[in-house]
Symmetry: C2
Subunit: 305 residues, 2 copies
């Protein structure tokens, strides 16, 4: 397995200033899988859904190139559901409903043939679930972890333990401050890199992302867009694009991680153009290549020495 | 005159989480002049101070390389004074006092020999003052304007008029939204570029700056710092570094403006390291060259095609 993904496959219901949806396909695992498939990276998702989950959504993932044999279906259970409403600035959202459902009692089981992945991407889930997966697989070349403030508030020790066991951690700026108890992101990064990870990615939403190693720092901007239609899944697409680019290139140097973070940013800039997975599903490799060039023009300069 | 600067020369009193000052040297004109002198650009300031203004502050500007013959001293007047307090996040500040004093009734007089500058930088002042200066000089190669929400709220029509007469406008993100009545910065830029300027710079503080022309966009990040000690003057240093680099290179292409904005960002990253002008005054060209390299490493990547 090139990229083993552990993350939610879920229903989202979204309202933005531009419209609203019924229950649509969502979940961190979904966006990461779609991003990986777009880069032609062999990938499979370990997750769980309920009997209410539409088979066509599983087919969509499969048709795009994701192995779904690791997605358990609990026939008498209900799929994880999130409902949210975004405001005009798109940086703030109200969660209207969160129904954990089948994820509540879930113990992930990694299929036997997937136990030696090249890269393991642990999407945002309870740290004990993430740890359980880490215990089932052997010697991945790279482990990438996403987590969030919710787990820091409710399972602090477990969050610290899982963080200590991964290579790359992705969190947002507020979470980096909470985790490190430092306000300056530069200082926060130093503290967090002492906790275990060799690389830290701090996501700043519309303000881009910072990539830190012990000795280096790189900044990738978000693309200034005419319109952000729906931010749902942008962070997961970003992480998925990052992980997939590394899985595709098998080069875990800081220089290559720079490229990976630009790929993640470019993919995320598409996700926000339509509701949920809509834009990512129809995205072509040519469109992506074109957008990578836009990022180059946006950031590159020549300086005479 | 290479760079003619019109802007406040003032007293600031600052409190940050790291300490507080007495009345120290401040003002947009001051920071812009110091930035220009650092790049060895011939520069002079048109401004006004009161009889209470310490001669050593005028000497400091002069010794650094700024022509101060355009700074009027009104012996029985008092110098513009601003007092402010920053909070931990350094993005919000409380203004504790603003005493406009001699700036209130000021009519700028541009010295005869300065009336054909290469570049005119209109620092943040009443738009009628900015317009008066525009009326006194002939055919500058480039006019750069800084303004702010205060003037939009109190002198909307005058702000629009002065904006219509300049080449480059610098404002922050909230001001761009107010001026354009568009939320998306990309849309805001399109609207504002219809108002007259050929180039728009949107300053986003710790989140960097965007440079827009009709067809192009460039993003310069702010340097992630261990500590922001005092943000006062960072925006003016940024604008000053930008203007000075253009004055030095005499190349007003978009490609060169990219370099100019990186120079501005690099200089501003020093200003915030100490109170007021302290760090800028002691800054060496070698330190600046080194920081430009840091910006290169922070943003540049190679992408195989």
């Amino acid at each position: 397995m090139g990229l083993l993904i552990v993350g939610s496959v879920a229903y989202d219901k979204i309202e933005t200033p531009f419209g609203k949806t019924d229950r649509i396909l969502g979940g961190a695992g979904t966006f990461i899988g779609l991003a990986a498939s777009l880069l032609n990276v062999e990938n499979g998702i370990v997750s769980v859904v309920g009997g209410d989950f539409k088979p066509e959504f599983l087919d969509l993932l499969k048709d795009n190139g994701t192995d779904i044999t690791g997605i358990e279906v609990i026939e008498d259970g209900k799929t994880f559901f999130w409902e949210g409403k975004y405001h005009l600035d798109m940086n703030t959202r109200d969660t209207l409903a969160t129904e954990v459902n089948v994820l509540e009692e879930w113990s992930p089981v990694v299929p036997e043939s997937w136990k030696s992945p090249s890269i393991l991407m642990l999407g945002n889930l309870h740290p004990m679930v993430q740890m359980s997966v880490l215990g089932q697989i052997s010697k991945p070349e790279l482990v990438i972890l996403d987590t969030m403030n919710f787990w820091m508030n409710t399972a602090w020790d477990e969050v610290l333990e899982v963080i200590s066991r991964v290579d790359v951690l992705t969190i947002n700026d507020e979470e980096a401050r909470q985790l490190s108890r430092e306000f300056s992101l530069r200082k926060a990064a130093s503290v967090i890199l002492e906790m275990g990870p060799k690389v830290l990615i701090i996501k700043k939403g519309e303000h881009g992302a910072l990539l830190f190693s012990k000795d280096e720092v790189f900044f990738a901007p978000a693309l200034p867009l005419e319109e952000v239609f729906d931010p749902t899944g942008a962070g997961d697409t970003f992480a998925g694009g990052f992980a997939a680019y590394l899985a595709k290139t098998h080069d875990f140097s800081f220089e290559n991680m720079k490229r990976a973070i630009i790929y993640g940013s470019a993919m995320a800039s598409f996700t926000v153009e339509k509701f949920g997975t809509e834009r990512l599903v129809e995205l072509t490799r040519d469109e992506l290549a074109e957008r990578i060039k836009v990022f180059k023009r946006l950031t590159q300069f020549e300086m005479p020495t």
